[in-house]
């Protein structure tokens, strides 16, 4: 089995948690010097498999065999696997924000002589590593001054400093914009040419197609197949059908919009940054949403999409906000989140773990969080009614959990997102602003979320969808606004919209602004 060109061979891996078989007889072969993608829905076992490989789950807590570079491995922790040259970079980056780039790179591996850190050596070595990963920053720069994309590169530089031979990246581009993603993928190709093998977990199939040599598909904790992108003539649809176990003719549910009266209009909306004095984040934005309409808001990272939405939603973001908001033709003033909710406006955040959910609480208390007053009489909550309401959402939204008393922190991303949507639908809003509603969730759950969005529109609600994924906006929205550097730069109907056209509008304003 273990061919000469196989660097990693995982054989018959089975990992059981109380009540759940997370991995069942999984096999993975990675060839030396290839980029190997692992695809699967959330909960398919990708992360668990990588945790087994990197020693997070130590030898003995799983069944099966790991052979790395011809030798069987029994890792008892991450240090073991790192000493063999296996480095994992997690989705949530693990850098110390207040330390410099160089300090982060050599954290735990300090360049010391006689017990004292040799700063010249540290910074010089860091500079060399930064050059290799193509990051033009001073090694003494604090990490908190870097964007997410650059932080990712620091992580990779850190891995390279550990003489990495097998680099594992868990959703490396989930938080990156297109430009940074492209740069990262180029870097991975470069590392491949230097002989570093990469395993990449990604939901973005176009990236997988662009970068991977081979792909292994997992579903429900089992290996479905390993395919060579070129030789097997793999297409995105083929990967998708392997992941979900069925053919998806359409990635977007069909939808006939029934568009009614205007429900929300924003006029001349200007927002200033709360941290950088005087910086304009949103400038003179005008937009409107009609009942039954799904409107997209496209923009690159930092264009001000979230800032626009949150400043409208009860001034949750920004200072020195000016402009007017009209609901059903009447001007309204939203000075707090409470007032926004009372006026029938809902905002589902782009970062559900940090801003959307109380992860230590159960599903029912999260579902009721924003509309608790609907369940209360005289300040007292009817918890039986709460249970009933939450259970209805559990069923109608297809939240996969044994009960509404399940803790939300233990749900998969897609199910967490359904809890967030349930919470806002329960407030009975007229307008829903959905910020990256499908970020980090798998293909099957995305389809379900799209279906929910369509139904909301069909029920006469206005929906404003913010997304970084242009295909998603094109597949879902009736009308799309583009935002660039805080200005609305275009408004395109579904029929006229193309990825190229939108991208032009999303970047055109930058030249105008300069």
């Amino acid at each position: 089995m273990t061919g000469a060109d196989t660097i990693l061979h995982m054989q018959g891996i089975t990992k059981t948690f109380p009540g759940v078989k997370a991995l069942q007889d999984v096999n993975l072969d990675v060839r030396r010097g290839e980029i190997h993608a692992i695809c699967g829905e959330n909960g398919a076992g990708k992360s668990t498999l990588m945790k087994v490989l990197s020693g997070v789950y130590p030898h003995g807590s799983y069944d099966g065999e790991i052979i790395f570079d011809g030798e069987p491995c029994r890792f008892s922790g991450i240090r073991d696997s790192e000493s063999r040259g296996i480095v994992i970079i997690h989705q949530e980056l693990a850098l110390a924000p207040n330390l410099s780039i160089a300090e982060n790179i050599f954290l735990g591996n300090e360049q010391a002589s006689r017990g004292l850190i040799d700063w010249n050596k540290t910074n010089a070595a860091a500079a060399e590593l930064l050059r290799r990963v193509g990051l033009r920053e001073n090694p003494t720069t604090q990490v908190l001054d870097l964007g997410v994309g650059k932080q990712q590169l620091v992580e990779i530089a850190k891995a390279v400093s550990k003489r990495v031979r097998l680099l594992i990246l868990d959703e490396p581009t989930a938080a990156l914009n297109d430009e940074d993603s492209e740069h990262l993928l180029d870097l991975l190709r470069g590392l491949r040419d230097e002989g570093i093998t990469c395993v990449i977990i990604s939901h973005k199939l176009n990236e997988v197609m662009a970068i991977a040599d081979r792909v292994t598909i997992l579903r429900d904790g089992r290996t479905i197949s390993t395919l060579s992108i070129v030789e097997d003539e793999v297409t995105e649809d083929r990967i998708i059908s392997g992941m979900v176990g069925r053919d998806l003719d359409h990635r977007f549910p069909p939808h006939e919009p029934q568009i009614g009266e205007e429900v929300l209009r924003i006029e001349d909306w200007t927002v200033h940054s709360p941290t950088q004095h005087g910086r304009v984040v949103v400038q003179g934005a005008n937009l409107s949403v009609r009942r039954g309409e799904i409107v997209g808001l496209a923009g690159l990272m930092g264009a001000g999409r979230t800032e626009l939405a949150m400043s409208v939603f009860g001034r949750s973001y920004g200072t020195d906000i000016s402009g007017r908001v009209f609901k059903d033709g009447q001007e309204i003033h939203l000075r707090s989140v409470r007032e926004a909710i009372d006026h029938g406006i809902a905002y589902a955040t782009e970062d559900r773990k940090r801003y959307g959910l109380n992860l230590i609480e159960d599903i029912k208390r999260n579902v009721s969080a924003a509309g608790l007053r609907k369940l209360a009489k005289g300040g007292w909550v009817d918890d039986n009614e709460e249970f009933k309401v939450a259970d209805e959402y559990r069923q109608s939204m297809n939240i996969k959990a044994p009960s509404v008393a399940s803790i939300t922190g233990k749900l998969s991303g897609g199910n967490q997102q359904k809890v967030v949507l349930s919470k806002w639908i329960f407030t009975d809003p007229d307008v829903l602003i959905l910020d990256e509603p499908t970020r980090g969730i798998d293909v099957g759950a995305k389809y379900e979320i799209y279906t929910i969005i369509n139904r909301l529109a069909d029920a006469g609600k206005g929906v404003l969808v913010i997304s970084s994924e242009l295909p998603e906006l094109l597949g879902l929205c009736d009308r799309i606004y583009t935002l660039s550097e805080g200005r609305i730069t275009g408004e395109v109907s579904r029929a006229d919209a193309t990825q190229e056209g939108l991208m032009t509008l999303m970047t055109i304003g930058q030249e105008v602004a300069r």
Binding site: F17, G19, F313, G314, S316, S336, V337, R338, A340, I341, Y347, T349, R354, Y355, G356, N358, L359, I360, E361, R365, S368, A369, A370, L372, L375, A376, G379, W380, V381, D383, N384, E385, K388, V389, D391, E392, Y393, R394, Q395, S396, M397, N398, K400, P402, S403, V404, A405, K410, L421, S422, K423, I425, F426, D428, E448, T451, I452, R455, L456, A459
Partner: protein
């Protein structure tokens, strides 16, 4: 409020999920962290009962434990709510002293009628809480700092009020509240080998048991009406029976001694009131939401600042209650009153299941945590252990309780 959701819920995916395997409406997950505290309490009581040859559960000793720990338990109620919201209050000991001192000055020096003086003292406590709540909630200074400053400030206020002397004695009514017992309104009844006991106390106990049975039964019925799974009837009966036996045992022992301490009546009212508040009131729910995820609570329309502000006002009022009880018990307000009470109250909350990060905890848990410390204090002094040993054991118990919390959490985290 018959049906709030269906019209909205129906909007979602029209096809209800086919039942997943193991998709029972409600699974019983035995929460070790929350239940462990009661088991630990039972074991500690059992241990000291054996070590003291039964003196631990003697009528007078049970009464002593209740009376001696009442003010810490009252503080623990407020403290757990503050901790659930993710804050801390280091000033309560000083607030206890300041409010006791102020009450004494009003009653003894100024001769105000005691009910008026008590009311003003509670308002005084509330104002102190409002002062601290303002800096924490609206000005954004961490509670640790504000209440550390408060610890010094209100100790200084105490010294200013008292001028470094003790003030007393208190009116009889206040002393009775702090240190007294219900009268034998209905006389005694014989309990065979146990001797005579106060009939009124026993009747109160029986009414309490009846109330527990009734409310638990109604809760169970209501859940069944909503088609929620409930625990098996046998388990339900067993739990209630155990609770009833323990309650009646305590009551009978108290009835054999000097009847019900008034502070126990007060404490029972506070525990019931605050348990209902934290479990069922919108305000109570918001405390958990704020502590669980501040940003998510803010974006769900919770007025976070106002919640935190009122929590500290509440803490101040409860500290004033504790201050009155403590001063009344000693029959004197003195400058060193309440020293290190904040540490006992904080320890009670953490032993009782609060999480360091906030968002978790129960009033009953904090009371149990406070009683665990009280029982250790009491039991060790009964067996004549020196005070350094008592401190050692209390420190170890606090550390063990939080270590257990962290350990169970890590285990839960690893299972995903």
């Amino acid at each position: 409020m018959t049906s709030v959701a269906p019209t909205n819920a129906d909007l979602a995916l029209g096809t209800p999920s086919a039942s997943q395997p193991g998709d029972s409406p409600r699974r019983f997950n035995f929460n070790l962290r929350q239940s462990g505290i009661y088991i630990a309490f039972a074991l500690i009581v059992a241990l000291f009962t054996v070590l003291t040859g039964g003196d631990m559960l003697a009528p007078q000793n049970i009464s002593n434990i209740v009376v001696q720990n009442s003010y810490i338990l009252i503080l623990a109620i407020g403290m757990i709510m503050v901790i659930i919201a993710g804050h801390i209050d280091l000033s309560v000991g000083s607030v206890v002293a300041a409010s006791g001192a102020f009450a004494a000055v009003m009653m003894v020096d100024w001769g105000l009628p005691w009910p008026l003086a008590l009311l003003i003292t509670l308002i005084f406590g509330g104002l102190i809480g409002a002062w601290q709540g303002y800096w924490i909630a609206y000005f954004g200074i961490p509670a640790f700092i504000v209440t550390l400053a408060g610890m010094l400030l209100f100790r200084a206020v105490t010294l200013l009020i008292l001028g470094n002397r003790g003030i007393g004695p208190f009116p009889d009514e206040v002393r009775t509240l702090a240190n007294g017992f219900t009268d034998g309104y209905l006389g005694n009844i014989g309990l065979g080998a146990l001797g005579g006991a106060d009939l009124f106390s026993i009747l109160v106990g029986l009414v309490a048991v009846g109330a527990i049975v009734l409310t638990q039964w109604r809760t169970r019925k209501a859940r069944q009406n909503y088609l929620q799974a409930v625990e098996p009837l046998s388990l339900f009966i067993a739990k209630i029976a155990i609770a009833a036996v323990i309650l009646m045992f305590v009551i009978v022992q108290l009835a054999r001694f000097r009847n019900l301490p008034w502070v126990l009546v007060l404490l029972a009212a506070l525990v019931i009131g605050y348990s209902v508040l934290t479990n069922r009131a919108v305000f109570g729910r918001q405390i958990y939401a704020v502590g669980g995820n501040l940003q998510a609570a803010t974006l769900s329309g919770v007025k976070v600042k106002s919640v935190v502000f009122w929590l500290f006002v509440n803490m101040g009022v409860l500290a004033a209650v504790a201050g009155i009880i403590f001063a009344g018990r000693l029959n004197q307000a003195n400058p060193t009153a309440g020293n290190a009470f904040e540490l006992d109250a904080i320890a009670a909350a953490f032993i009782g299941g609060a999480a360091v990060q906030g968002g978790v905890g129960k009033v009953v848990g904090a009371i149990t945590g406070g009683l665990i410390m009280g029982v250790i204090n009491n039991g060790m002094s009964l067996i004549g252990a020196p005070s350094e040993q008592v401190m050692l054991v209390k420190g170890a118990v606090l550390l063990a309780a939080v270590a257990f919390d962290v350990w169970t959490k890590r285990r839960a985290g690893a299972s995903r």
